[in-house]
């Protein structure tokens, strides 16, 4: 597609529920990134894939967060046993290489109630 597509756009989850957020990068983009943007804050790095390999997951805030990209294209960010502090916009970005030529998606706004 023309841009990075994320779904759903909005997700409301009850505390303790598991959620899965999807990212469809631009076709052919090797690198894929996830960022978390809390209200009133700038985006913060979560994890980075090069093709199917997760090369950096240093930003994942806890072991409840898990990301995968099994075939090197679509990626899923999974959050288990959601907590209120997980409420944020989750941004996906992709790029041809590993450098900063990102295209960002519009994000998924997660609200945990």
């Amino acid at each position: 597609g023309a841009g990075v597509s994320q779904s759903p756009r909005y997700k409301v989850a009850k505390r303790g529920q598991d959620v899965a957020l999807r990212c469809d990068p631009i076709s052919g983009h090797v690198s894929l990134f996830w960022y978390q943007q809390a209200l009133g804050q700038g985006p913060e790095f979560l994890t980075y894939f090069q093709n199917e390999a997760q090369l950096d997951k240093s930003g994942l805030p806890s072991d409840r967060f898990f990301a995968e990209r099994p075939e090197g294209s679509v990626s899923t960010l999974k959050i288990q046993r959601t907590q209120q502090e997980d409420s944020a916009v989750y941004l996906c970005a992709s790029s041809l290489g590993a450098g900063p030529g990102y295209t960002f998606g519009s994000g998924t706004r997660l609200t945990v109630v």
Binding site: L55, D56, P100, F104
Partner: protein
Amino acid sequence: AQSVSQHNHHVILSEAASLELGCNYSYGGTVNLFWYVQYPGQHLQLLLKYFSGDPLVKGIKGFEAEFIKSKFSFNLRKPSVQWSDTAEYFCAGHTGNQFYFGTGTSLTVIP
């Protein structure tokens, strides 16, 4: 540790006023600096970027930024803002695999 700070959280201007948004960075090595804009309900869009060379960089929509190494600054400027510039603006540095974003500045332009 790498970090980027933005001083202005909310800025309100009238149309045709000049804009300057502050950004300071803290880095130990090579600096790649960016300004992104996020219009309401839309994705982050790149305004401009600095890697090296001429410290005055020009971006889209009439925006420019100046890299001043001695001040560790990369302020965003526009001589005359328009109502359509109302948005959130993020300064960011990039190193390794990731961006380091500032907390953002919300700009409201009053017609």
